[in-house]
């Protein structure tokens, strides 16, 4: 008997169809603005999925995800601008540096119980942001690092590349979430003491999950740096983490694919509300409150699950 669920074919087909649709949209509705919005949405998708893999599955909420994003982006900036390294090296290097930060931060903080992990990560992100300003001779201070080279010059091609990486990241993390590893992470969310009574080294699982989560956040950071062609300390801001957490909640926490939808939905919503001027933030906030209050499990994953169950109940 199969012990672990694995990826079901309907979800895979649905995910692929969504990716293809997103890939085709800019060719049907041409315009650099739309491509830009979708590129940023896809990068937010990578950040949201990576947050959900560790925090959504284990329930240990990371309020300092922006630290890994910033570290990844600055790694790309330093390598490319200050050391003249080719832009493609940014991607693996940013992942590795962010993973290293995941290790050194996860090792002490994930042993903490209660809200202390969240607070420690929040503080670490704030400290990193301040350090970027304090050591301005090296980091560029408020201005950050400018003139980063693009990975791919054609904007549409770069969007497709980012979209492919979003698809691969989601596929890999969703597969892990439905494996033995994911079951243990969900058990940790259920009850840590019972996990210990089941003989599981939960701190190790949490640390390794944070390292994986950090790696993909760093990858997203590098993609963002090569899209904006500059990085600034604002990337470390707490608001970045909060935005990502909101995207995960709207998408459906602990579902992996849901946050991708959450990221797309909220990014498009933000852009769509630009015409409302000063009312934009208020409308955005009210919509968020409505979603979080009336749909506590999110909107994307539960909707998809309903559609899938309805489809599988239909007589063939």
């Amino acid at each position: 008997m199969k012990a672990f669920k694995g990826l079901d074919k309907i979800s895979l087909a649905g995910g692929l169809a969504a990716l293809l649709f997103l890939a085709v949209v800019p060719t049907l509705l041409p315009g650099k603005y739309l491509i830009g919005v979708l590129t940023v949405a896809a990068i937010y998708g990578i950040w949201s999925v990576s947050w959900d893999f560790m925090s959504g599955l284990t329930g240990r909420e990371n309020f300092g995800h922006s630290l890994f994003i910033g570290v990844g982006a600055y790694t790309a900036g330093f390598l490319n601008v200050q050391f003249g390294v080719g832009p493609w090296w940014s991607l693996p290097a940013s992942m590795l540096v962010a993973m290293f930060f995941g290790l050194i931060l996860g090792f002490p903080t994930l042993r903490l119980r209660g809200p202390y992990f969240a607070l420690a990560m929040l503080s670490a992100a704030v400290i990193m942001q301040r350090l970027m300003l304090i050591f301005w001779e090296f980091t560029g201070g408020e201005e950050g690092i400018q003139d980063i080279k693009p990975l791919i010059k054609n904007q549409l091609h770069y969007y497709w590349f980012v979209l492919s990486l979003l698809g691969l990241t989601t596929l890999l993390l969703a597969w892990m979430a439905r494996s033995r590893w994911g079951l243990i992470l969900r058990a940790i969310r259920g009850d840590e003491a019972t996990c210990l009574a089941a003989g599981l080294p939960i701190t190790t699982y949490k640390i390794v999950s944070l390292i994986i989560s950090a790696g993909f956040a760093g990858l997203g950071g590098a993609l963002y740096a090569h899209y904006q062609l500059q990085v600034s300390p604002q990337l470390f801001a707490v608001v970045t983490s909060i935005t990502i957490i909101t995207m995960v909640y709207v998408g459906g926490m602990g579902t992996i694919f849901g946050p991708v939808g959450g990221a797309l939905l909220l990014t498009l919503m933000t852009e769509g509300l630009r015409d409302f001027g000063e009312w934009r933030l208020m409308i955005y906030s009210l919509m968020l409150i409505f979603i979080l209050f009336f749909l506590p499990n999110g909107i994307v994953a539960p909707t998809w699950n309903k559609l899938r169950n309805w489809r599988s109940r239909e007589p063939s």
């Binding site: 012990a3 033995r180 079951l183 969900r186 009850d191 996990c195 210990l196 009574a197 003989g199």
Partner: protein, 249 residues
């Protein structure tokens, strides 16, 4: 008596100014069902927490099959073959009954090619097969007790520590669970350490009793010896004999 599977020597524990366990010495032989008896606050669950590494001892020594458990982490102790249940049921909320048992199978001792079938067999053994795909938070209290035991069994233990498995159960559920515990002991040769307040059922299950009061062992012996021990009668049982048919716990 065969050689000791679990050896507890001079175990001592303080919680601040409170001396919760005082120089505890207990030896459990392989294949025994040993009962730990005592009033609330006597230190029984603390003793379980010390054996399983959930809290560290101040003084003393606990060994399992000759391995010192003193500085071992709780998950590593499970790896040696010591499993436990909790006084209050602690299922993995959000997981199904089957997934709860599967988590128990993911520890270091289990070497099965078919973890899914193994988990289903365990659910069948405890009578929860029909509820395998039910979310664990929807189970009745009696079923949660069974799930706790199935999850502990999934770790492939040699020594099973059951902390008040009958708490909150009705008479028929207690009878069924008693039968299951006897079956586990007989068929799987499990050694069991049991804390329970339901004296009649407790005394019928165990082969030996260790009575604790205010953190001290006040008596040790067969159920018959214990129910007639004046210190145990004074500290816990009272004058009514739990082994007599008229006793209603």
């Amino acid at each position: 008596m065969s050689r000791a599977l679990l050896e507890i020597q001079h175990l001592d524990k303080h919680f601040g100014g409170l001396h919760v366990l005082k120089d505890i010495n207990i030896s459990v032989a392989q294949g025994e069902i040993v009962g730990i008896l005592g009033p609330n606050g006597a230190g029984k669950t603390t003793l379980f927490n010390l054996i399983t590494g959930f809290i560290p001892a101040d003084e003393g020594h606990v060994s399992f099959r000759g391995h010192s458990l003193r500085k071992m982490k709780s998950n590593a102790i499970v790896g040696l073959g010591v499993a436990r249940t909790f006084q209050l049921c602690r299922p993995f909320v959000g997981l199904t009954v089957l997934e709860n048992v599967l988590v128990g199978s993911l520890g270091p001792r289990v070497k099965s090619d078919d973890l899914g079938q193994r988990a289903m067999d365990l659910l069948d053994q405890v009578g929860l097969l029909a509820k395998a795909h039910t979310p664990s938070e929807l189970l009745s209290y009696g079923d949660l007790r069974r799930l706790e035991i199935a999850r502990a069994l999934a770790t492939d233990p040699e020594l099973l520590l059951l902390d008040e498995p009958f708490a909150g159960l009705g008479s028929s559920e207690i009878e069924a669970l008693s039968t299951l515990i006897r079956q586990l002991h007989k068929e799987q040769k499990l050694t069991i350490l049991l804390i329970e307040h339901r004296l009649r059922e407790f005394m019928q299950l165990v082969s030996r009793v260790v009575a604790i009061d205010f953190g001290e062992v006040i008596a040790e012996g067969s159920p018959v010896d214990i129910v007639n021990n004046p210190r145990v009668i004074e500290a816990y049982i009272g004058k009514q004999n739990p082994l007599s048919p008229s006793h209603d716990a």
